[in-house]
Every structure is written in C-alpha cells, then in structure tokens.
C-alpha cells in the first residue's frame, strides 16, 4: 500500500523535527538577560550552526535523489525528513536571528530560506493533491492517449468535412488547425484557450472568413449545429450530425488536456522556484557566515 512521505515510518521525522524545535526553543529561552537574544551569543551560534547544517543537508536531497544506487537511506525517508526538518528550520533560523531583520546579507539569507521553504510547502501540497486530480481528470488514461484520440478525431473531422459544403470544410479545418492547447507559462498554468476559427461575418455573406475566438470550441460546435436543420442534400444531415459529435468529443478531450497540462504545470512549477532559490540560498548562507566572522 502506498505510504505518504508525511506518514513514512510512523512520521518518525516529524517527531525528530518536533524535538529539534523544542531544543531550539529551550536554547533560545536561556538567552534571557539584560541583552536581547541575538545570533551572536553562544546559543545563537549553536542555533546558527544547526540551521546551516540543516540547510546543507536539506539541499543534499537534490544530490541523493539523482544517485539511484545510493544506499544511504531510502529516498522516501529522505523526502519525509526533508519536509519535516525543512519546516523545523524556520523555527531554528528564526530563533537564531531572534527576529532581528535589516537590509543586509543576513536577512537576505533568511528571506531566501523562507522562500525556499514556502515553495517546498507548496510543492508538498501539489504532490499530495494534484496527482489524484490528474488521474480523475484523465479518467486514468495517459495524456498521450488523449492526444492520439484527438489526432484521430482531427483526421476524422477533416475527412468528413471534405464531404460537406466548402464553408463547413473551411470552418472545421480552421477549428482544428487553430486549436491551441498549453502554450506559454501563463497559458499552461491558467489553462488559457486562445483557439480560433475562420468564420464569415454573416452566413450569407460572400466576404472572406475572418478569425474569431473559438474558446472551448463553442463557435465550431454552434456553427455545425446551426447547419444541421438546413441540410437539404442527401446524407448531409447525417454527415453534419457525425461531424458535430466529433467536435463535441474534441471539446471534451481538449478540456481534459488543458486541465491536465495546467495541473502538471503547477506540479512542476514549485521546483522551478525551489531549486534556483536553494542555490541562491546556499550562496547567501556562505556569505552570511563569512560576513559574520569577517566583522567578528
């Protein structure tokens, strides 16, 4: 049975993180005295060292997960510890700096650390929530299968439209060729649909067709649906009916695909933030340590 990284080995790393947090609070508490708590006391140095080691170890997950033959703990165990100790790091680092902030490299390291942890928490949320949504959206089919079906429907739609009036063919062809899925960052993450279709301004008009929005394939479906009652050639109504069914199926497929791409995008996005910020954090952390001892 699948075990979540949060519940790995009865959440043993949650208890470890809790213990670390309690010890950190205790250390911080011993700083009572005439001077406010500060990273420069011995307790501050201990908390700072623990925080720095934690950051380095947490960053090492990126190395560990690429070493498939590594026997240093299971990857799931590493991920579980990564999550819990990463959250505990917020407490350790905040107590280390005693919430003293300024426009300096020290606060930069802290802010980067918080950003890394926040993006990591979003990633955890995404990993826990989105795979189920993805599976439900695709009805347990693979994305490639959805595209294969879409391609099949495209071919079928095109071939049927060849047998219809030229304006139906043009509309169908343009609806297929001007369908968009995914796209840029916003297009993927927001599931934007910039699909278009070539339509004449009026059905009786002899003017050239112009591109209009075909969001969610509604314009194409409506066009074909309106043509059905006026079909007067033999077999035309059946062909249009078949074409309409194809377009409607395409509509459903495209919705699934856009939602799939959107969820996958969010599932990937946090790593695009988490990893680069981690690298910047490691640099800022090193500078923080150098700066502290340079001006000791």
């Amino acid at each position: 049975m699948h075990e979540s990284i949060l519940g790995y080995k009865k959440a043993r790393y949650a208890w470890l993180a809790l213990l670390l947090t309690l010890i950190s609070c205790l250390l911080y508490w011993t700083q009572r005295g005439p001077q406010p708590a500060n990273g420069g006391t011995w307790q501050g140095y201990v908390l700072g060292t623990a925080g720095a080691l934690l950051i380095v170890w947490l960053s090492a997950l990126g190395v560990r997960k690429r070493r498939y033959r590594s026997a240093v703990g299971s990857l799931q165990g590493w991920a579980s510890a990564h999550v819990y100790l990463g959250v505990a790091l917020v407490v350790v680092a905040t107590l280390h700096c005693a919430a003293q902030f300024g426009w300096n490299v020290h606060t930069l390291a802290y802010v980067l650390m918080c950003a890394v942890i926040a993006s990591g928490l979003f990633g955890l949320f995404a990993y826990l929530r989105f795979p189920r949504l993805l599976a439900r959206n695709r009805a347990d089919r693979a994305r490639d299968d959805l595209f294969a079906e879409l391609n099949e429907l495209n071919e079928l739609g095109r071939s049927i439209s060849q047998l219809c009036d030229p304006d139906v063919r043009i509309v169908t062809d343009s609806a297929i060729s001007r369908t968009t899925v995914g796209g840029g960052l916003l297009g993927q993450l927001c599931g934007l649909d910039h699909s278009q279709i070539l339509l004449r301004k009026s059905e009786n008009s002899s003017t050239a067709a112009v591109p209009v929005a075909n969001r969610d394939q509604r314009a194409a479906v409506e066009f074909v649906a309106r043509r059905i009652p006026r079909a007067n050639r033999q077999g035309e109504a059946e062909r249009l009916q078949h074409l309409l069914a194809i377009l409607c199926r395409r509509q459903t497929l495209l919705r699934q695909l856009r939602r799939d791409i959107q969820l996958q995008g969010w599932l990937q996005l946090w790593l695009y933030v988490h990893v680069p910020l981690t690298v910047a954090l490691l640099v800022a952390l090193a500078l923080h340590i150098v700066a502290v001892f340079f001006f000791w």
């Binding site: 005295g33 005439p34 001077q35 406010p36 500060n38 420069g40 003293q100 300024g102 426009w103 300096n104 490299v105 020290h106 930069l108 994305r143 490639d144 299968d145 595209f147 294969a148 079906e149 879409l150 391609n151 099949e152 495209n154 071919e155 297929i176 060729s177 369908t179 968009t180 899925v181 995914g182 796209g183 840029g184 960052l185 297009g187 993927q188 695909l257 791409i261 996958q264 995008g265 990937q268 996005l269 790593l271 695009y272 990893v275 680069p276 910020l277 981690t278 690298v279 910047a280 490691l282 640099v283 800022a284 500078l287 150098v290 700066a291 502290v292 001892f293 340079f294 001006f295 000791w296």
Partner: protein, 571 residues
C-alpha cells in the same frame, strides 16, 4: 507562392488515391502544429519545423532553428528544391515534381504511418517548453547574490583600505565615505549605535580592525579613553571581572538601546552579597546615603597653616569648610529687609547650576558675597576696599592708605580726627599721625589685626594670630574649600528634579536640602535616602518614578583623569 500538394494515400483495396491541395501563401510552413500549412506528425518533428518560400525564382526550404531537414538522404539546415528532390519528415516523404501551369511548385506527399500520440509535440504542454531554464535561473541568482552581497562589500572594504581614508578612531565625527566604499554596510548584522555611527562614519574597520578577529578592548579604548575597570586589580573581587572584555557586556549591532546595560541585575547580582548588601532601591534594600566630605587636616606651622584636604565619608557627616555661614539667616527675607541688606536672597542668588546639570558653579566672594558684604574699612571712604584672599596684601593696602593720610595724599580726609565717625570697634582709630610714617604703619598694623581678629575677615573666616613682628604674615585665615561633589560615585540631574514637582523656586530646593533651618556651616544639607524614596523606588516598587541602579551609579568608575561619568568619550 502557389503550391500544389498532391497527397497520395492507399485505400482499403490497396489502390493509390490522389487528392490535391492548393496552397497560396507567401511562405508555406511545415510542422506538427495544426496551424501549419502542412501538418506533419512524427518523431522529432517540431511544431514549426521548416519554411518554404520562393526566392529569386527558386524554391528554398529552411529548417527552423535547432531542426534538421532530411534532404535526398542527407541532413541539412536548408536546401534549394529541384525536380526529383526528396524531403523526409519522420515517416512522411515529399518529392518535388514538375509544377503544373499556374503553380510555382508541386510536391507529392506520401504520408507515413503516424502515431497519433505524437500530436502532443505540436503543442507546448510542459513548463520545459516555455523557455524557463531552472539551471539558468539558479546560476543567475547565485551570481547576482555573490556580486551584490559578496563581491561589492569586499571591494568597498578594500577600496577604503587603499584610498587613504582617515582613521576611524581619530577624534571627532568622521565623514561618511563615498557610496561605493559603503557597500559593506550590507554585512552589518544590525543597527549601529547612533554615537558610533557619527564617530565612525560607516568605517567598519574603526572597531573591526583585523578581519576575522574579534573586536579588541583597545579598539574601544581608542575613543573611550577615560573608562576604567569596575574595580582595579588590587580589589579582592577583581577576579570576577578579570576575563571580561568590553564585548561581553556591550553588544554592538544588537539593539542600540541595550548597548549600555541598564538592568539592576548587573549590580545587585554581585552587590547583594557584599558587606553592604544592595538588592534594589527601596527602604531596607539600599544602604543609607553617606555623603563624601572634604575633610581638612590642618598643620599649624610657625608662620602659616598647611592644610591637606581628603575626601571622606564619615558616619556622622559634619562639614568643616573653615567658613562661617548660616543658610537660614541668608534665606530669612524679613531679616534681610530689616537690616536693609537689599533684596531678600533666594537659593539661586548664590547657587548657579553648572552645565552638567548636576553640580553648581563654585561660589566665590567676588561673585556672590561681595554683592552684599563689602570689605571697606573706613566709613569715610567706603569705596576703599580691602583685597580678598591675600592676607599680606591686606596690610600692604592699609599701610599705603594710612601713609597717604599722614602725608596729606588724601586731602579731603586729613588725618586729624576730622569728620570720621567713631565706630564701636575703632576705639583708637583716630590717632593723629600727621607727618609720622611710623605712626601710620602702626595704625595700619592695628587695623590689620582688627580685621583678622575682631571684625571683617573673621565674620566669615576662621583667623589665627602667628608669632613674628611682620604684620604681613602675622595674621592668617584657614583656607576655605567647599565640597563640590557629595556623591562622587553617583550622578544626578538637578534640572530634572527642580522642574519635576509642583514646588517652584526655593521651595523646590529646600524640599530636599533643608537650608532654611540650617544655622551653622557644619550642617550637611544633603537629602537622605528617605527623601529620595518619597518619589522613587526600583522596578518592583509602586512609586511614580522607578529608578534603576544606573540611573544614579556608573558601572565604570571615574578613571585616572578623575572625570565623573567615565563612560563619556574623550576626544
């Protein structure tokens, strides 16, 4: 351009079916995207894979950036199409054929067996396809952080070191270095105390004199020259502070207001165990106030006094300033008016607060007493005043005066017993010495003796007669020294206290100093602990104005220079 695309497919019976597609456009796009003019699905076929156009009468096809074309069996980036040439896109094959009339180019297209799943390649369906490069972002961020927060501070520090900047420990406020030399402020671990900011002007090396080495006590003493240790090496408790450095208590870059410790625990943690235990500022928790007094040790030599003054804290304080003075008499307004001594006196008539707000400007005969008490000796010539502070000069002055009268220098007042009034103490003052210098000198000696033993000087001073015949040195007064600082180990702000209560003027002063009832100068008018506790208490008391130890006491005692409030910076 006009393109004829002849699509060749096999029907169910295995026969070739041809369908012509006419395309008219400036350029024809090939790729997997549905909006390409010729949509070709297949492995390694990009959304927009190639572009076909007619240029100078020749058909040329060019692969998109990063793509390749299979042209007559070879991989090329671009090619000029001639009759019979073959292009391959995955499983698709296109062959150039003779263009019919009205067409610029004709292509025969044999579509290959294509997996429909490859349609996904026609779209950007992953964040990887959006141009986002996490590795590039990571490197960029790392380099930006390294440059701004690492290289810039180091460079500014190096520039200051090599720009001949003035020493930060030089006296006075240091000007800020140029902006380019201040980037290491990004390494500040916290705000600098305002006084240090002004004195150092952003030059970190003023205190952090050697990189990667802790700030030394010498760096602090560069400015704080008059700071002494809490106790010196001979003190039995010195071992308690022997290993301490300035940094142990004074944490810079923490909270500026805590740079100087103010907690009572700083004092009472040790002093609660001392011989005179202190637990705070409250009745029973703080010892009674014992003023320090200047105590004279008088040695009477044959011809003069020799006085050494020592500061002592006697159990029964009595001042011995060698001055005769009654505060009560001077503050008695009715008496002042009755004796026609001028306006009634107030405390501020004589006591002027010094700029430090704690002490008072020393009182002198010339500035304070002489406004009412003149040193005239002859009522007929009240403008003639004896000198003050120099016994020998008194006789010289009187000798000159009486010689002048004897020889007619003072013609208006001939030495013939004329209009002079007889005063009670001047029984023999009117002897005539006309033309007799010895008589005049004897007269001067007698007047000198009267001044030192009967009236004049002895009104306020303690006088003594010595042996010898020289009237210049025969009479002396004991030198006067008033205690200026009754509590040298504490500090106090008179200005705050005078304006704090409802009482104003003299009432504010006598509220603590009972001068209005003091009739002798030996009274010590310093308030006792009870007086202070009327308004003050420590943090645990309910009084309106809580006091901490450091409100009155300094941890660092006065240093060798003898300055009180030794935590001041000496520039």
């Amino acid at each position: 351009m006009q393109l004829l695309l002849r699509k060749c497919t096999l029907n169910e019976r295995g026969e070739t079916e041809l369908s012509d597609i006419e395309l008219s456009a400036d350029q024809i796009t090939f790729g997997s995207a549905p909006d390409c003019d010729v949509q070709l699905l297949g492995e390694n076929i990009r959304a927009r894979h190639a572009l076909l156009r007619i240029s100078r009468g020749a058909a040329r096809i060019e692969a998109a950036r990063g793509c390749e074309l299979s042209y007559n069996g070879g991989a090329v980036a671009r090619a000029q199409l001639r009759g019979g040439d073959t292009l391959e896109f995955g499983a698709h094959r296109l062959q150039v054929m003779d263009a019919p009339a009205g067409f610029d180019l004709a292509l025969q297209w044999w579509p290959g067996e294509v997996d429909g799943r490859l349609l996904a390649q026609a779209y950007r369906t992953s964040l990887r396809d959006t141009g986002l490069r996490p590795r590039l972002v990571a490197w960029t961020l790392a380099i930006v952080v390294l440059l701004l927060a690492g290289a810039a501070p180091v460079a500014s520090y190096w520039l200051r070191q090599h720009a001949g900047a003035p020493s930060a420990t030089a006296p006075g406020a240091a000007p800020n270095p140029p902006l380019v030399q201040r980037a290491d402020s990004l390494w500040l671990s916290g705000p600098l105390h305002a006084a240090h900011q002004v004195a150092l002007g952003g030059r970190c090396e003023g205190c952090h004199q050697t990189p990667f080495r802790q700030v030394t006590d010498d760096a602090c003493r560069g400015c704080h020259k008059n700071v002494a240790d809490h106790v010196d090496g001979a003190h039995p408790q010195h071992a308690l502070i022997a290993g301490l450095h300035c940094q142990n208590c004074h944490k810079e870059h923490n909270e500026p207001e805590t740079l100087v410790l103010r907690a009572d625990s700083l004092c009472v943690d040790c002093h609660r165990e001392r011989q005179t235990p202190v637990r705070g500022f409250a009745a029973g928790a703080h010892p009674e106030l014992h003023p320090s007094l200047l105590t004279p040790a008088v040695q009477r030599l044959p011809d003069r006094f020799e006085v050494r003054w020592r500061s002592e804290r006697p159990a029964e304080p009595k001042e011995n300033s060698h001055l005769r003075f009654s505060h009560a008499a001077h503050l008695d307004a009715a008496k002042m008016r009755a004796q026609n001594k001028g306006e009634p006196l107030s405390c501020s008539s004589c006591h002027t607060l010094a700029p430090d707000k704690e002490h008072f400007v020393p009182i002198t005969m010339e500035k304070s007493c002489s406004r009412c008490h003149d040193l005239s000796f002859d009522p007929r010539q009240p403008q003639k005043q004896l000198p003050h502070g120099d016994p020998a000069a008194v006789y010289d002055m009187l000798e000159g005066y009486f010689l002048g009268r004897s020889f007619g220098v003072n013609k208006n007042i001939a030495d013939d017993g004329g209009p002079a009034r007889r005063l009670p103490a001047h029984a023999a003052a009117d002897d005539s010495c006309r033309g007799d210098a010895a008589c005049a000198r004897a007269k001067a000696a007698r007047e000198t003796e009267r001044q030192f033993t009967q009236r004049g000087c002895v009104t306020c001073h303690v006088g003594e007669t010595f042996g010898g015949s020289d009237p210049r040195t025969r009479w002396q007064v004991l030198p006067v020294r008033l205690t200026r600082d009754f509590y040298p180990d504490a500090h106090f702000n008179h200005a705050v206290h005078i304006g704090a209560g409802s009482a104003q003027g003299d009432a504010a002063c006598v509220g603590c100093h009972r001068a209005n009832t003091s009739r002798v100068s030996s009274d010590v008018l310093m308030p006792d602990l009870k007086t202070c506790l009327q308004c003050h208490g420590d943090a645990h008391a309910a009084q309106s104005f809580p006091l901490q130890c450091v409100s009155c006491h300094a941890y660092h005692p006065a240093a060798a220079a003898g300055r009180k409030g030794s935590n001041r910076v000496e520039f």
